[in-house]
Subunit: 308 residues, 2 copies
C-alpha cells in the first residue's frame, strides 16, 4: 500500500436542488476525495485549511475514517471557505450563488512530515501554484501524481496550470474543459493534445455520460450508473477522483490495466455520492453496498462476443 | 435465421457538415437499416416507395447486398422523398433545410408475399399508422417487432403512436424523445414508463454518449466508440437499429443476453456509418473491419474485477 497525500478544499457548502435545500454542510474537494479514498483503508493525509468556525466533529468524521487531518490548518479568527449553488431541473447545470474564499485566499499548504515521502499525490482543484507547492514539498518523486482542475484556472492562471500539468501523471478534467484547454471538439484529439502537455494518462469526465481514460492509443470507457434519481451531484467528480486514486494507492499498481479497475471503482463510488446531499451518503457506505454496485457495473457493461 | 421485413424511407439526402457538402445522395431510414442488416447476410426485404427520379443503381446497390427490393414501389411520375440538413460545428445538432415528402405523402406499404410470414419486423421512423399497416399484413404474430420513432410523431400523432407502441417488442428512441414521451427526466424512470406502454425492451440512444438497453430491472449500456472525427452523423441511429435487428434476425435468439450483443453490433456498425457522407462507408464495409472494431469495443469496455 502506498501513502497518499490529498490537497484540496475542506469547506462549507450550501446546496439547493429540485429536491430540497441545505444550510451550511460539510463540503470541499479534499473532503469528498478523502471519503472516497478511505473506502480502500489507505494511509492518506488531507492538506487543507479551515477557519475557527469549522466544527471539530467534521474533522473527527474524517479522522474516524482513518484519514490523517494533521495537515488541515485551522485559522482561529477567520472563516472557512464557503460555496453555495443551485442546481437546475436537469441536475446537469447549476448556478453559483456565493463563493467566499475566506481562509483559502492565503492558503499555503504544508504537507505533514510523515507524508512528504508519499508515493501518491492527489492534487484537488485549487490554484495551480498551490498544487505545485505540494509537489515541491515531496522529498522523492512520487510514483503517481493525479491532478484535478477546472475552467476557472484556464481562464485565470493558464500559464501556471500548464506548468503544473507538465509534472503530473494523470489529469482528470471534464469534457468541456478538455475542449477549452485544447481547442479541439473531438475528445480523442483533445486527449492526445493533453498527453503532449505532459500527463501520460488523461481522464475525461462526462458526468452522467461516464468517463474516458486515454493512454497512448488505448482508450477505456466507464459509464455512469443509470440512476432513478440524482439527488445532489455536488462532489461526484471529486468522489470519482478519490475512488480512482484511492484504489491505485491501495494496490500500488499504476498500469493502464489497473487504472481501468480504478476508473470503475471511481464511477461506483460517485454513483453513491449523488444519492444524498453533500457527504451524507459517503459517510455511511458499507463494503457490502460497494460490492453489490460493482456487480451492477459488471452487469451493465460486460458482454460475451467470441471473436475468431 | 429469421426473415426480416424493414419498412422505412428510401430517399435522397443533401447534407452539409463542417467538412463539406453533398448534392442529392442516397439516404433514408430503410436504406441505412438495410445496409446494416445486410452485414449479417439475413434474408431481408425493404418495403418503401420512391419516385421515377430514383436511380436504378441505388436499388441495385441494395439488391447486390442481398436485400430484396421488390417491396419498394416506384411511382414513375412523382419524385422521391428528399431531406436536406446542415450540421452545426458540434455535429450533435442540425438544422433541417428542406423536407419534401413527395411520394411519401401517399405511401401505403405492401409487404411482398414472400415476407408476410417474417419472424422479425423492423418499423423504421414513419407515421405510426403506416408502421401499423405493416404489422397488420403479417399473417403470423412476428417473434420480434422493433420500432423506431421520433418526436415529430409525439407532437403530431401521439394517439396513433401509442397504439402501435402497444404492439411492439423493442422501441429505439433517443434520450430527449424518451423524456418527451414520458415527462420524466431520469432515463431509468422514463424506460419503466415506456415498458408500461407495451414494449418489453427499451433502447435509449444517446448519440455520441452511447445506448442503454432496459428490460424489467436489467440494464445494459454500450458506449459509442470515441472517434477522432465524426464526418457525417446522418443515418447513424438507423444503422444502429439495423445492426441490432439484423444480428437478432440472424441468430434468432431474442433473449436479453443476446440483445446485449446486438447492441454492441449496432454500435459498432454506427461507428463506421459516421466516417463518410451518407451510405458511402456502409457500402464498402468488410467483415475484417467489423471484426477489428468489435475488438476495439471489447478493449474499450471490458475489465476484470474479481468479486468475492
Amino acid at each position: 500500500m502506498s501513502k497518499l497525500v490529498i490537497v484540496g478544499t475542506v469547506a462549507f457548502d450550501a446546496i439547493e436542488t429540485p429536491f430540497g435545500k441545505t444550510d451550511k454542510i460539510l463540503g470541499g474537494a479534499a473532503t469528498f476525495i478523502g471519503l472516497a479514498a478511505a473506502q480502500f483503508h489507505v494511509n492518506a493525509s488531507i492538506v487543507s485549511i479551515v477557519g475557527g468556525d469549522f466544527p471539530q466533529e467534521y474533522l473527527d468524521l474524517l479522522s474516524n475514517k482513518g484519514i490523517d487531518v494533521s495537515g488541515v490548518e485551522i485559522v482561529e479568527n477567520e472563516k472557512t471557505f464557503f460555496w453555495s449553488g443551485k442546481y437546475h431541473n436537469d441536475m446537469n447545470t447549476r448556478d453559483t450563488l456565493a463563493t467566499e474564499l475566506n481562509v483559502l485566499a492565503d492558503f499555503k499548504p504544508i504537507v505533514p512530515k510523515d507524508y512528504i515521502d508519499s508515493e501518491v499525490v492527489m492534487l484537488g482543484n485549487l490554484h495551480p501554484l498551490t498544487q505545485m507547492s505540494v509537489l515541491d514539498q515531496m522529498i522523492n518523486k512520487p510514483k503517481l501524481v493525479v491532478l484535478d482542475t477546472m475552467n476557472f484556472w484556464m481562464n485565470n492562471a493558464l500559464k501556471d496550470l500548464l506548468e503544473v500539468i507538465k509534472r503530473i501523471d494523470v489529469i482528470t478534467i471534464n469534457d468541456e474543459e478538455a475542449r477549452q484547454l485544447t481547442g479541439e471538439y473531438s475528445l480523442v484529439v483533445a486527449a492526445r493534445k493533453i498527453h503532449e502537455m505532459g500527463p501520460k494518462y488523461v481522464v475525461i469526465k462526462k458526468g452522467e455520460h461516464g468517463a474516458l481514460l486515454f493512454h497512448d492509443d488505448n482508450v477505456f470507457f466507464a459509464p455512469a450508473l443509470p440512476l432513478e434519481e440524482v439527488f445532489d451531484p455536488t462532489g461526484a467528480g471529486d468522489t470519482f477522483a478519490g475512488g480512482f486514486t484511492g484504489y491505485l494507492a491501495k494496490t500500488g499498481d499504476f498500469s493502464f490495466e489497473n487504472m481501468k479497475k480504478a476508473i470503475i471503482y471511481g464511477s461506483t463510488l460517485a454513483s453513491f455520492c449523488v444519492e444524498k446531499f453533500g457527504t451524507l451518503r459517503m459517510e455511511n457506505l458499507t463494503n457490502h453496498e460497494v460490492h453489490n454496485r460493482l456487480q451492477q457495473f459488471k452487469t451493465l457493461t460486460q458482454f460475451e462476443i467470441e471473436l475468431t
